[in-house]
Symmetry: C2
Subunit: 120 residues, 2 copies
Amino acid sequence: MDEKQALDAFTALSQETRLRIVRLLVTAGPEGMSAGVIGEAMDGASSSRMSFHLGHLEQAGLVESRREGRSIIYSASLIALSGLVEFLMRDCCQGHPEVCNPAVAALSSCCEPQKGASHA
Amino acid sequence: MDEKQALDAFTALSQETRLRIVRLLVTAGPEGMSAGVIGEAMDGASSSRMSFHLGHLEQAGLVESRREGRSIIYSASLIALSGLVEFLMRDCCQGHPEVCNPAVAALSSCCEPQKGASHA
DNA sequence: ACAATAACTCAACGAGTATTGAGATATTGA
DNA sequence: TCAATATCTCAATACTCGTTGAGTTATTGT
């Protein structure tokens, strides 16, 4: 994750519809959701609007897509989201681990950390 | 952290100068840096430009300021950054902890997690 | 092949944003 | 109080972004 990628990701996340899409796809997990189903969840957004935002998110690397029949299925890229978090918080505790730990605790609360997870 | 706060934060982070300021302040820790010193680190940005971006970041809740003599000292709000991460990644592993752990590992690598940290 | 469904592409409009430069406010030391 | 330093405020400009509506491409079942 370099600065340009991070800027693209934050730009993508700074728009209401796109932020909602990403959060929806984060909860949807690896199976993802079709563009049409996502559009209905976004107050019935038009197809061109969904296409614009989903394309934006894909170009920013935050979501991935695959075709399944007539539908295109989108899913969140957890790798990209992790990289973004790491980019933003890198070197957050130079000499002060206590100011950084709230972020670790917040993210750890999402799921039980497995001690075996490798450390990029 | 609600949706509006998150959108403001991502908007603030989606601009090159502001993203650099936040990352600089994250590494600077709680002591922070003066507006002038930050401006010099931003390729000598003009004072009005720094004021605009620092004000934007403060309004978004990502940085805090205090006056010290003639200078105004800015520091990153780790609480806000943690809240943002948690908002983005909430419910990231419904039934699939393995897809969420890379994010935890990325952030944990920032500093050694202390097992005592309370879990918001 | 044809019709229906799902999603994408494109051009145009209106709204919001970053930068600049000049000027104003706050603090300090002599 | 005066000059110097540090930062903020404001108006004008150019730039970027989101939405809309019409049209296009891809896939499926008959």
